[in-house]
């Protein structure tokens, strides 16, 4: 289909779709006039039920923890897909290309900028860990903290040193982090089956709301998910980085 025909068809279909969407949305309750039931209930009893003060984390890792298990494995599967698709093909070779990979084009940045980028690495790790472990009290948790943690080694890459980024976050380590995170969350669920009789049911003491060790399984699940998410993002990024910086050649 030519480009023009495609656009003409879309003008028709897109207009129709927009009309249907608007008609559908007018059937929803007015914005701000909330009619839901679950939100009200969980807002009312959440804290007394599980002793976590951030209800989003509480829902994520306790009330609807089973959904999170599924979502975690979507994450795992899509990263597995990236690894499979970007694997080294026949005829391709990993060029050591020492100089280019060690000192890629950002290396022309000033020494101050590069030092700053390296100095950011520990700071980002600290923020990431803080956000992961305080998920049940304040905004944060495994998903957000995990992405922040994954961003830390990129500081070394931005400083112009891809190979030292690989030294901070070696393949084996991040793959294990990804796998342990995914398996740990599933095992936490199984241990609920063993100790409390129901999959993913909390059996860990709840503690005092607002304290670091509170909320029972929230913290444990948060750490596992944080490991998984940071591992997943790092695996995906390293695959792309390897392709962009190291892998060359291949049949055309």
């Amino acid at each position: 289909m030519s480009r023009r025909a495609r656009l003409a068809l879309f003008a028709l279909a897109g207009g129709g779709l927009a009309a249907v969407l608007v008609i559908g949305f007018t059937g929803l309750p007015d914005f701000g006039a909330y009619h839901g039931v679950y939100g009200r209930i969980i807002d009312g009893i959440g804290v007394t039920l599980r002793h976590g003060t951030d209800l989003i984390t509480l829902l994520n890792f306790d009330v609807r923890a089973f959904d999170t298990l599924g979502e975690e494995f979507i994450l795992f599967a899509s990263v597995l897909g990236i690894v499979l698709i970007l694997r080294q093909l026949r005829g391709e070779r990993q060029e050591p290309h020492k100089e280019e990979a060690e000192e890629h084009s950002f290396a022309r940045a000033s020494a101050a900028l590069r030092t700053l980028a390296l100095g950011l690495v520990p700071a980002i790790v600290a923020i990431g860990v803080y956000i992961v472990v305080h998920g049940q009290i304040t905004p944060g948790g495994g998903f957000q903290g995990g992405v922040i943690l994954a961003a830390a080694p990129l500081g070394a890459f931005l400083a112009g040193r891809y190979l030292s980024m690989k030294a901070i976050a070696p393949h084996l380590l991040i793959e294990w982090g990804d796998a342990i995170g995914a398996a740990g969350y599933a095992l936490l669920g199984l241990s609920g089956l063993v100790f409390a009789g129901i999959f993913l049911r909390n059996y860990i003491p709840l503690g005092t709301p607002g304290h670091l060790l509170s909320g029972g399984q929230l913290d444990v699940a948060s750490v596992f998910v944080g490991l998984e998410v940071s591992g997943a993002f790092l695996v995906a990024w390293t695959q792309f980085l390897d392709q962009a910086m190291l892998v060359r050649g291949g049949q055309q």
Binding site: F31, G32, D54, I56, T57, I131, P139, G140, G141, F143, Q144, V147, I148, A150, A151, L154, F233, A236, W237, F240, L241, Q243, A244, R248, G249, Q252
Partner: protein
């Protein structure tokens, strides 16, 4: 609905359009980052700090890194193809 919320919605509506109409993918990535920031503000004014936190990291670091690296790989492959063509000719 507050003024802040209306402003954030307007910024998101404009940002989404800007991402789509940006001329080349490289520029689109940058606009996508800015669009992500406006979404972050929107989540924040809609009383949604958790989501804002995850959006800000994903949209300013997570996605752009992958897109930029993919574009770099594509450019590298194009350069290689050119070289191969020239070798065949000469």
């Amino acid at each position: 609905m507050t003024v802040l919320q209306v402003a954030a919605l307007a910024a998101v509506a404009l940002g989404g359009a800007a991402v789509v109409v940006s001329p080349d993918p490289l520029r689109q990535v940058i606009v996508l980052g800015i669009y992500g920031l406006s979404l972050t503000v929107l989540f924040f004014v809609f009383q949604n700090p958790d989501v804002a936190l995850s959006e800000i990291v994903v949209s300013t670091v997570g996605l752009p890194v992958m897109v930029l690296l993919a574009l770099r790989k594509v450019r590298e492959q194009e350069r290689q193809r050119e070289e191969q063509k020239q070798r065949e000719r000469g």
